[in-house]
Symmetry: C2
Subunit: 205 residues, 2 copies
């Protein structure tokens, strides 16, 4: 039987590629780019190190593919939000989603500004284009939220946007988790609450 639309080999190839990306996604979140080796990846997905290079031509490309996939997912989540939600609600929800994603073993955006990965990403056009797209959506939401009077007018837009990025990869998550006092859901809610409402009590304002 001639399969016009479903070349089996190709399907298998792409399934393996997805498996590689999943493994890298987890390894990146556990060890970070510098400490993750291609041997680690090979072992996790069950193929020899050399074979990985038939799929991705370098360690940087491999990591970039994972980060790009994350950005695509972020756009999907952003675009899939109910139309009636206010801008501030969307911002809260995207932070919540990012934290939950990390809780499930996913990489955060921007592991840090230094490091070999971030430098390599700056030369990846697909990643850059998507990052810019996400960034614009964030700034638009902040602008709307300010118009709604839902966020501080005095706080700079940049501070707000970068704070959201930073909180989504905040080590606080891992420390709270290690303590084991709070459940995953409680950690997420505590972080969202602290980010949007701050540490200071409202009564003293």
């Amino acid at each position: 039987m001639l399969s016009l639309k479903l070349p089996f080999k190709k399907q298998q190839f792409e399934a393996r590629e997805e498996a590689i990306l999943d493994a890298v996604n987890q390894l990146l979140s556990e060890k970070g780019f510098d400490l993750m080796t291609m041997d680690d990846v090979g072992e996790a997905v069950g193929v020899a190190k050399g074979s990985l290079y038939k799929h991705f031509s370098s360690k940087e490309k491999l990591a970039a593919a994972v980060m790009t996939r994350l950005l695509r997912q972020t756009v999907e989540v952003l675009d899939g939000m109910p139309a009636e939600w206010r801008a501030v609600r969307r911002l809260e929800e995207i932070l919540r989603w990012s934290l939950q994603h990390r809780m499930r073993g996913g990489v955060p955006h921007l592991p840090s500004t230094r490091g070999a990965l971030q430098r390599a990403l700056m030369f990846n056009l697909e990643y850059l284009a998507l990052a810019l797209k996400v960034n614009k959506k964030f700034y638009a939401l902040v602008k709307d939220a300010k118009c709604d009077g839902d966020v501080h007018g005095e706080v700079s837009d940049d501070v707000i946007v970068y704070t959201l990025y930073a909180r989504s990869c905040d080590p606080t998550v891992e420390y709270l988790r290690r303590d084991g006092k709070l459940s995953d859901e409680q950690i997420v809610e505590a972080m969202v609450e602290a980010t949007f409402h701050g540490l200071v009590g409202r009564s003293t304002e």
Copy 2:
């Protein structure tokens, strides 16, 4: 002339050791532990790589010395605060000091929970003891600030303490700085404001 209290050679030795720590401090904040090489350190301070091992027996020990010095400075700052300051003011001020320290090229506490450095520090008794000491001071301040009614009673102490740590090494600082729209002082104030008062406007509460 016999110098009983100031052996010149010894003085010179310790001066060089301080220079090494300063160089490592800066390199750690720029590249992080994994990407910093002993060659980098040697070049920055102006000595050969091999000579460094006459001062510190390993890369981990070297970094640990820097982190320990930072903790000692933190204790000094905490203990040197005016007696009349309320607890919440002290917390605000220690975050402010940490951010300013980073602005001047210093390492932050806890670069991250993963990574080779953090693992090595867990075996360094001097570091551990000091870290515990600082930690206790933070928790005491949070407790006092809650008694004063100055911080949210509902937010867990752990979340508050870890958030302060995390914000002091938040990549937001570097992104804001790269943008160049805000001065260093404005960045510090914006971060402190966002941390303690949150992103959400007070009017909607």
